[in-house]
Symmetry: C2
Subunit: 646 residues, 2 copies
């Protein structure tokens, strides 16, 4: 008898050994048809693997991330076979599944591959796939494995095998192809119905720039042609929305080789946007009882030794700043919290004065390898919409709810309607991993869960995902292209209050440690604006967009009237400017469209005579000839639809 | 015949040698009575010195800085004699005049001096002064000078003399006292009518902490008792207004040993004040056509090599920040201009698009020795209200006028009514010292002078005071205590446009170099707020002060009514909060006075019944029981008196 436990907790008992696939069939034939991979007792297996003992079984379909992983890993075998057949003698190295698709690193020898070759590779892959070859795992002795690849003169696989233990080595066969492989495949190649070779790039063997440069072939595959089509459309749309491209086109930010990589320079329009975003949050924060502070961008090394950040960021980040005096050393701040702890520590507190909520748009600096930098999403200097709340353990519950309100207000005002939350709590089996009293942890975790429930969040609880210093709540936002981004963190901290010896006098007249909450609804201004740019394709909410209106003159004769209209709009706090260039109306409208300006106002003879304006929306909708007052009302109404009072 | 040229250019000819004093008498007996020191051919002389050749003579009275210097230097001789007489055997070292008064460093041997001894030193000094002893210079051979001080067993003077050239050594005698001295005295001790020993401090011989610690005795002296009295009152008032004291009392900013010296942490009230000040300037700048930008606080070392700042700040400042990758080095930015040049350089410009005016509240970092740090006026990190205007040479005139308008608007809104300006131009005799075409310099200097005249500034022109890269205009502001502060600089720059190869396409379709203007009306936010704090003694202009109103409840019963009043005030954008502590009204009023809150609103039974408020001004004036509406109007009127629209 073997007992198989399924994820829902149900147990199925079988008299004999049974394959994962057969368990699936036992559940339902229809389900079994969709099962493409499995995990048994936390170990990836094949669906054909025979289960010989009791254990937990998870069966995956394409809809699961683990299912996709097996699908793409298997597809990389097909890619490898195709490459071997098309380019005889190439040497294979490794070929894993990645977040979207897979790649294979190959030593092409004398061959080169360019995008002209992608079609024929795809055709060969599909030909192999259609053969419906089963993926079959087999154990191989180290000696046999080495001899197999020495025979192929593949020094890369030989090197890989030399580092493996004899007895742990497996190969995977399908069709005429064999590869060194740890397992985790779909049943057969026939499930792969659509493939696309996406790109080729250089990649060093083992990521070491002193070693041989290989060719990395990226691809993706799907169980349906339709899925591939959708994916390619998404890719196309994502390319159009790339914030680096839009940021340049809309003149929001730039980079300078002289200033340095990963250090954005905010251009006037980007600064205006960013300042408006900051002012929006400042206003809400003021209402929520936050107080703004300003702290320097450096601190003595000792400050970060106290906080523990030096141990964390020290070696891999910007190095200490020495001074002409030898015993003074400073660090660029990687976080604002130590400074805020020192502000808290600048005077004694009574429980009656708590919570204190210190907020700062604090710019922090962290070194990233230049290869990891990416537009505004991965930079070396960024500004956090940071705040630290110092409160008593009893205040945690109320404070957490208030922070969630603020985060939801921010998301709502910016058009992120699709999000989930994750509560990260302790691993109760390893209590020694965490700092802080268990009763406080209990209180904090309950506070977070209560708050999440109270605010009707769609959330999951993840055990063991808490940081060693406290539990937290993260928001995951889905953008217009369906991509997930982690935005907005609320984190409880028992560690820094200890390290900085923070205290307050309780009603018992004794000194107690406050609890600290770190929170940042945007996270980083840079990353948030990048995501917002891609989410909206540059069509920012009307209240936020740098230029709301452009006034297009039919000819230079109407400049004066245009100026009059501009003044009226400015009096109504509408951000506008005049395009009085000596260009055709068609050209002016095209430029305004490119610049994503929500409203175009056209002024000419009729408009001036009637003291009105002709209004056209971005995208083409014609609002006709109306008064400036009516137009202002339209703008105001539109803004109040997304931008509510906090 | 000798010809003596006076500062007004007039020449007086004498048949024989003549003393400086006699030239003064020749001008006017009355003037001569006030002359206390002189300079001949740029060399400090005594008034009794005989002029034996043609040359330029300047005669100084107490009103001149050079006169004060001679007065205080002479007073340090009197102090030295007094110390020798009171503490026989002390060893004198050096005793110069300083900005306010003088000091003498002495090796007191077994003696100590504390403030209890100041009275007797002052008495002894006045006794010597009243003797009307002439100060008499004499040349001494090196051998005689050494033997004089070896005889006294004064190793300090011996060390000083050993470093002097034989033939260059002079002593000064007065009364029974002799001192090694280079000269520059008032005629006799009798002119000193009032003296004050201010403090004693430790000071290392030759400023070297490995050498012997001496006692530095600070003093000041005046030609009239009344002057001393006024000075001491000013000192007392300045102490009360010390921004470090007020900043702590009003909870504006703090420092932390852990974060580091000279790195201010802005507390909530200070941040609110500073943000309001920044917003005020932002608003005016927006109207004046500036565009805000944001740039990082670091830049690659190469950036500052290009700009020339590395050569200027490199060795003495914060050292380069190394990274895990060896070939990358960054610097904390000492100035914002290089970053703004790179923003200008991020796209090509046409003359039609100029001027570009980039503004940023940019925080910069410069290392200062810890001994030189002082509250917010001398710090290691500060935020400039920086802007850089890129314009054509022809636009300089108009741009300069606009910048002056902005600076005057800032001063006016903050109660600095008393200021002068200085235009620093080239030294025409040394044209090789300057970068940039002479015709552009001519244009720029004329533009500045025209603008200063046009705006009716009280200004002086200083030849040779321009920086090598361009002429400038500085504003000197007098505060409420009559102290002068340099605030607001407008600087033309021909250098950075060259170094960064900035260009624009002119109407001739050729590339030209723009001119750059650096300007900062506040200078540094930190220093400006410190000066404003001392100028106003913390009684900031009503529009700026963090807390405009405090609502004092007569008892806790009226908390609800107080909250209602608070809401009404907040709706009228008046910054208020409630003091509902269980304290007496007297105590609440005293605390509000200490916190410099301009208006106190008292609410109790009568007020609630009549739906009114009792209002008391800071300082005591009673405005009676009025409605919230009337009160709001008073506040609004008061604000609009100082804060005008730009």
């Amino acid at each position: 008898m073997i007992n198989i436990t399924l994820p829902d907790g149900s147990v199925r008992s079988y008299e004999n050994e049974i394959t994962a696939k057969d368990v699936a069939k036992d559940i339902s034939e229809g389900f079994a048809r969709n099962v493409i991979s499995a995990k048994f007792n936390d170990k990836v297996i094949e669906t054909a693997t025979t289960l010989t003992e009791d254990g937990s079984l998870i069966l995956y379909t394409w809809r699961d991330n683990d299912g996709k992983k097996a699908f793409w890993h298997s597809s990389s075998h097909i890619l490898a076979q195709a490459l071997e057949e098309l380019y005889p003698g190439v040497k294979l190295t490794i070929g894993p599944a990645i977040e979207n698709g897979f790649y294979y690193d190959v030593d092409l020898g004398e061959y080169t591959i360019s995008d002209k070759d992608f079609k024929s590779i795809e055709a060969k892959m599909l030909e192999i796939a259609r053969g419906k070859h089963d993926f079959k795992m087999k154990s191989v002795s180290k000696a046999d494995a080495l001899s197999f690849y020495k025979n192929q003169v593949n020094e890369y696989k030989v090197e890989l095998i030399e580092n493996l233990e004899d007895g742990d080595i497996t190969f995977c066969d399908h069709s005429t192809f064999t590869d060194l492989c740890r397992g985790g495949h779909i049943p057969n190649t026939g499930i792969v119905k659509a493939v696309k070779v996406l790109s080729v790039a250089g990649a060093y063997w083992r990521g070491d720039e002193n070693k041989k440069q290989l060719t990395r072939v990226y691809g993706i595959s799907f169980p349906k042609q339709k899925d591939l089509k959708e994916y390619l459309e998404l890719l196309e749309e994502a390319k159009k929305r790339d914030h680096r491209k839009l940021g340049k086109q809309l003149e929001l930010f730039t980079f300078s080789q002289k200033v340095g990589q990963g250090l954005p320079l905010w251009l006037p329009k980007g600064t205006s946007l960013r300042n408006r975003l900051e002012d929006f949050l400042k206003k809400a924060q003021q209402k929520a009882g936050y107080e703004m502070v300003i702290t320097p961008h450096i601190g003595q090394k000792e400050l970060y030794i106290t906080s523990g950040h030096y141990a964390k960021y020290g070696e891999d980040s910007f190095q200490p700043i020495k001074t002409p005096k030898l015993d003074e050393e400073f660090l660029l701040k990687p976080m604002n919290c130590p400074h805020h702890c020192e502000i808290y520590n600048s005077k004694p507190w009574s429980y009656k004065e708590l919570p204190k909520r210190y907020a700062e748009f604090g710019t922090v600096y962290r070194y990233e390898q230049s290869g990891e930098l990416h537009g505004l999403t991965r930079v070396r200097g960024f500004t956090q919409d940071d705040a630290h709340i110092f409160c008593t353990p009893d205040q945690l519950d109320a404070e957490f709810k208030k922070v969630i309100d603020l985060v939801l207000y921010v998301f709502g005002s910016l058009g992120f309607d699709n999000f989930t939350a994750q509560v990260s709590v302790r691993d109760l089996e390893n209590p020694e991993k965490y700092i802080g009293a268990p009763e406080n942890w209990e209180k904090a975790e309950q506070a977070i869960i209560n708050a999440a429930k109270d605010k009707s969040l769609d959330f999951v609880i993840e055990s063991g995902e808490a940081a060693f210093y406290g539990p937290k709540l993260d928001f995951m936002v889905k953008d217009a292209l369906g991509r997930q981004w982690q935005l907005g963190t609320i984190q409880v901290d028992y560690n820094l209050p200890e390290r900085f010896e923070l205290s307050y006098k309780g009603s018992d007249n004794e000194l107690h440690r406050p609890v600290m909450i770190h929170r940042a609804p945007f996270g980083s201004m840079e990353r948030f604006i990048a995501i917002l740019l891609e989410h909206t394709a540059g069509n920012f909410p009307l209240w936020l967009i740098p230029e709301q209106v452009i006034i297009l003159t039919i000819s230079e004769k109407y400049e004066k009237y245009a100026e009059k209209v501009l003044n009226l709009l400015e009096n109504n706090e509408i951000r506008a400017h005049v395009d009085n260039r000596n260009e055709t109306m068609g050209k002016k409208i095209r430029d305004a469209e490119l610049n994503k300006i929500p409203f175009m106002i056209i002024v000419g003879e009729n408009e001036e005579k009637e003291n009105r304006i002709s209004v056209r929306r971005h995208g083409g909708e014609d609002l006709g000839m109306i008064s400036v007052v009516d137009f202002s009302e339209i703008v105001e109404n539109e803004i109040s639809k997304t931008l509510k009072q906090f």
